[in-house]
């Protein structure tokens, strides 16, 4: 018996330098606990990451895998595309990563059909999957269910409002005042007034097959910035996807500073264009 217990202990003990498996805590909450037929709400998903570890944005950067959300809704409710809080660049021996340390927040729009019976209660299931890394990597995941009551809008949840403190949620660049974006066949240029977060303005790219970015350059003059992001499109590596510039324009240094979504399709270069990968 003693030998058996000893054998079990030996086989199941981690190696001396094996870091303990990190535990990501997932929380979810509805933006409003009830919504009327034909109305809208959001489900918020918060991931709390242990100190020293990171998980990845929807584009992990040079290594890693994206954190994913799967929302299962009953008939009468449809879920939109999740909006993830501003990530940060993380320097790793494998390259520059894009991800989260501390916490991540996602908001998923929910649309209620006009024909849903008032008074009904609908279950919205949330499933998140992530890769969490430090010196080692572990896959993780969690599932939760939130109950949405169909009826008069109950107003914003205090829980979600609390979670959003200190988190920057991206908004479309078109909503940034007096800001212009120009795309040609070699570069994207964004010009606009500096915001309250100061002179740090940067583009974080979201990977589109075949798109490769050069070094971005920033100039500031008279309270305005100009950011130029050169790119190259390798048609042969695009796997049939049209060329597009996707990502975030970030201001300031912290994940609480503003960020803006960019999603611009580029006019398809002519097939004989020099430099395209054949």
């Amino acid at each position: 018996m003693i030998a058996f217990v000893a054998a079990i202990m030996m086989c199941c003990q981690p190696l001396a330098d094996d870091p303990p498996r990190p535990k990501v805590q997932m929380q979810s909450a509805l933006f409003s606990h009830s919504a009327p037929p034909g109305g809208k709400t959001q489900i918020a998903v918060r991931l709390i990451i242990p100190k020293g570890w990171h998980i990845y944005w929807i584009d992990p950067g040079e290594a890693g895998t994206p954190t994913t959300l799967d929302i299962t809704t009953p008939p009468g409710v449809t879920a939109g595309v999740p909006i993830w809080s501003r990530p940060k660049r993380i320097t790793d021996p494998a390259g520059t990563l894009i991800g989260y340390e501390g916490q991540a927040l996602a908001l998923v729009p929910l649309q209620v059909s006009a024909d849903v019976e008032p008074g009904s209660i609908l279950d919205i299931a949330v499933k998140a999957d992530w890769l969490i890394c430090r010196k080692a990597c572990y896959l993780g995941g969690a599932e939760q269910v939130e109950r949405l009551r169909i009826g008069r809008d109950s107003g914003a949840s205090r829980t979600v409002a609390t979670w959003m403190v200190g988190m920057s949620m991206p908004r479309p660049l078109a909503k940034r005042p007096d800001t212009q974006i120009h795309i040609n066949d070699a570069a994207m240029t964004i010009e606009g007034p500096l915001g309250s977060a100061g002179q740090q303005v940067e583009f974080i790219a979201r990977h589109v097959p075949g798109m490769e970015y050069g070094k971005q350059s920033l100039s500031v003059n008279g309270g305005r910035f100009k950011l130029v992001v050169p790119y190259h499109h390798r048609r042969g590596d695009s796997m049939g996807r049209p060329p597009a510039v996707q990502g975030l324009l970030t201001e300031g240094r912290t994940t609480a500073d503003p960020c803006w979504t960019i999603n611009q399709t580029i006019a398809v270069p002519s097939p004989h264009k020099e430099g395209d990968h054949k």
Binding site: E62, T65, A94, G95, T96, C137, Q200, S219, H277
Partner: protein
């Protein structure tokens, strides 16, 4: 066009520096690693059984390199996503041999987050657990991994019989649902090479755990 592109990029950088304006912090990393269409970096590595492998030994054959880590759940660790535990590598090798019977398939482990002896011990355990038949080469100082620009486990490289790098990037689609075809970019490259067609895609974004260079 590529030269023009980077020359233009460099000009932008110089121009912005000359204007003494604030610079990005941190700047995007410069591209490093082996280039598709160019000669694959030469290497000499020893496998976990002590046998030495020179890339030059395999001239005239198609060589596939797979960056490997026995502790990564996408690579050599038992997990529902692992390319070894799920049999995706076995399928790849089997398909590749139909097109290139003499294909050389090498796994390379550049992990330095554990001592070399532990890495070898873990690789031997993974080999036994998943029935890996291919040599596992140890690159403990990471020189070969960095020369190739290996970022993830898995990260795949296909070298043609003439020693040129023909494909660099992902193993295939990250996740394959049950019943769906496993669109493997390595098989695609090997088949295109056999057919004498351009390899497309020749570069894709790899996924997996970051290579543990330290």
């Amino acid at each position: 066009m590529i030269k023009h592109f980077f020359a233009w990029g460099a000009a932008l950088v110089i121009a912005s520096a000359a204007a003494a304006q604030p610079r990005l912090n941190p700047p995007p990393p410069a591209k490093a690693g082996a280039a598709v269409g160019k000669a694959a970096p030469a290497f000499t590595l020893t496998d976990i059984d002590g046998k030495t492998h020179n890339l030059s030994d395999y001239t005239g054959k198609v060589v596939v390199l797979e960056w490997f880590n026995a502790g990564c759940p996408w690579s050599g660790k038992k997990s529902p996503r692992s390319v070894h535990a799920t049999g995706r590598v076995k399928n790849l090798v089997s398909e590749a041999k139909k097109a290139q019977p003499e294909i050389i398939y090498l796994l390379i482990d550049s992990s330095a987050n554990r001592d070399k002896e532990t890495v070898i011990k873990e690789n031997k355990a993974a080999r036994d657990e998943f029935g890996i038949k291919q040599p596992i080469l140890i690159d403990h100082d990471g020189k070969v991994g960095k020369a190739y620009g290996a970022k993830t486990t898995p990260h795949m490289f296909v070298i043609g019989p003439d020693g040129k790098l023909m494909y660099a990037g992902a193993f295939g689609e990250r996740q394959v649902k049950k019943g769906d075809k496993d669109d493997n970019f390595v098989i695609n490259a090997i088949n295109k090479m056999k057919a004498g067609e351009p390899v497309e895609p020749a570069q894709t974004r790899p996924w997996g755990c970051g290579v543990k260079y330290n």
